[in-house]
Symmetry: C2
Subunit: 195 residues, 2 copies
DNA sequence: CATTTTCTTTTCCGAAATGACAATCAACTA
DNA sequence: TAGTTGATTGTCATTTCGGAAAAGAAAATG
């Protein structure tokens, strides 16, 4: 009964606008008004559908990490054994690391938001724990003989390499653009195969 | 002639307050008013001594990267050959990475600021280029037989590992607290010694 | 003591953002 | 067609911040 709800579509619209806004304007610049403008809706709309600013960020974190970002985990899980690792490596060290666009800014801004907001932080903790586990699974498929401890360390190492490199890339540091990280990452892998 | 200037002391006071403010409130929350409150001065004081908000951030970047942060580069340069690498490793992978306090938040926030402000970005680019070079020098002293390309890749890899791990630590991710990164880092080093 | 320089305090203004609320409009159903 | 639900729009008060300027107080020097 009653008028049909547009909540699902509108929320999606707002989430995407929030992502664009975060990458354009940063956490500071991601205001209800900007998100409204970016989404083509009014501020009252945004407030109506997602609530206040904190609610917006919380919902965005949930949306991001169960949508686009979850792709990574899903694809690795779905891939057959020895195909897992190449997928993970490409994801971590090729064009962009993030599917939502070619932008890691959003993630960094969310981490900042997570410092103040426990809900956001927990969302991210859960996601990253799973993602690193996925990398570890990919390593297990490729290097079944390696010790679990070594695999865990390498998995976390690969993840940190990707995160660190994305930070350097954001500063437009010359070294970040070449294949240096990938070389370092493959150096880490070699360690597993030589055991 | 004239009343003696307190500019030096006041500026130092304000810079330290800015650092605390960045780590507490993030870039967004680092307003002139908050910095003023944190430093025990008035907003007018802050404006008087450092100028507007952009000036504040620019001066803070300069202050940070020619003060506390430059320690890293200086210590490595000063250390005799084979002592360089242990110093670098400790700095990157032990208690804190950052001397200003136990906090990498400030750096992350500055990177965010650097996206919009070319002056800040250049300051950071210069510093990080030097820092990575310092790591490379430490590697050269320890592994003179290794190829320059491999050393460069490992140096950058170590740096990215440290940066990435600091991000994960900020999320209070369990894996970030153990010795996993350090293990990964030492894995990278092994590669140089086996050549 | 007069002057100069700097510190210190205070006030004003404009812009931007938030939160809350109210009023109207549109679609669906009994 | 009446009622209900939700969409849509608009307005208001408050807060926070930034930028600028004025005016007074303090400390040094000649």
């Amino acid at each position: 009964m009653g008028r049909p709800s547009m909540a699902a579509a509108r929320t999606e619209q707002i989430m995407q606008a929030t992502g664009r806004c975060l990458q354009k304007n940063g956490l500071a610049g991601t205001t209800l008004e900007r998100v409204a403008e970016e989404s083509g809706l009014s501020r009252s709309h945004v407030r109506h559908y997602v609530g206040n600013r904190d609610d917006l960020l919380r919902k965005f974190a949930g949306w991001l990490y169960t949508g686009y970002e979850a792709e990574f985990i899903g694809k690795i899980a779905a891939a057959p054994g020895r195909e897992k690792l190449p997928i993970a490596m490409d994801y971590l060290f090729s064009s962009g690391f993030l599917p939502i666009s070619d932008d890691d800014t959003v993630i960094r801004e969310l981490i900042t938001a997570g410092i103040a907001d426990a809900s956001i932080r927990e969302t991210m903790q859960g996601h990253y724990t799973q993602a690193i586990q996925a990398v570890e699974n990919a390593l297990a498929a490729e290097y079944p003989a390696a010790s679990p401890g070594a695999r865990r360390s390498v998995a976390y190492g690969l993840w940190c390499l990707a995160m660190g490199n994305s930070m350097m890339a954001e500063l437009q540091l010359p070294v970040a653009s070449g294949g240096l990280v990938r070389a370092a990452a493959e150096g880490l892998l070699e360690r597993l195969s030589h055991d």
